[in-house]
Symmetry: C2
Subunit: 146 residues, 2 copies
Amino acid sequence: MRISSKGDYGLRALFDLAQRYGKGPVQSEDIARRQGIPINYLNQLLITMRRAGLIESLRGPQGGHMLARSPETITLRDVLIALEGPLLPGDGTREDLIPGVPEDHDLIDEVWSELRAQIETLLSRTTLDDLCQRKRQRAGSVMYYI
Amino acid sequence: MRISSKGDYGLRALFDLAQRYGKGPVQSEDIARRQGIPINYLNQLLITMRRAGLIESLRGPQGGHMLARSPETITLRDVLIALEGPLLPGDGTREDLIPGVPEDHDLIDEVWSELRAQIETLLSRTTLDDLCQRKRQRAGSVMYYI
DNA sequence: GTATTCTTGAGCAATTTGCTCTACTATGGC
DNA sequence: GCCATAGTAGAGCAAATTGCTCAAGAATAC
């Protein structure tokens, strides 16, 4: 169970967009530079996220990408499922298993299933807007000490 | 973030051992047959789990594998970390990232770190003994209806 | 119509996954 | 001591995934 650079890069990119939500499209090159993501790879991830309905993209000069929904409606769960795919056994990933003793097999399947639900609940609790607020709070507290 | 067959097979094998805890060694061939795991692959996973300190193994006739600790002290977290390795960015997996804007970079790092802690807490709540109890309860309730 | 920006798909080296197979080592029992 | 039984170790291997790059194409603003 590992989050690869896809999920990591993807979250960073969406966070970048969230901070500029409502201010028009943001170009992938700017995202790449600010967030330290290889541009060609980022472009791929952006396409994946557009197909997942997380962002919208405009071509041509002054084009770019923007969140398809407001930052408080996009959760870590949305990002990770879009980019990393299914999270645990029991969501179609491992249907090819040779079943053993049925009671044991079913019990373990249920454990994965419940675990997945719990983890998704956890992931659903954090939104892009939460991240933006955290950054603002942090910037604010720095101001006090200056 | 995906649990591969390693974690799945590994949990099934340990669950098999947990149900026979205290009754001497269990041979890998029996585990493989009961749990529907390819024997050669299972043998590899058993070695990994032994190196992680989850099981102990005895060679020779009447040899086999057994839990190194009691089932209530072995959690899903133990199993998954032993077999799947680090769970999320921020545990050494992705140190090679080119950092972007430092505030954003650090904030996302923290998010992964907190998330990992929360997921590990979740995983730590379920032990092998919990699974055994669940199976016994289930068997018990079936008895009532016969 | 041209510069800009996203889109699509190919390609590719490195790593991981999910195995198998062979050889080796340890141990219990005769 | 021999031998059958088990685990141990490591090589090998096809297929999939990761983490990219690159080139060609399509849409749009000016």
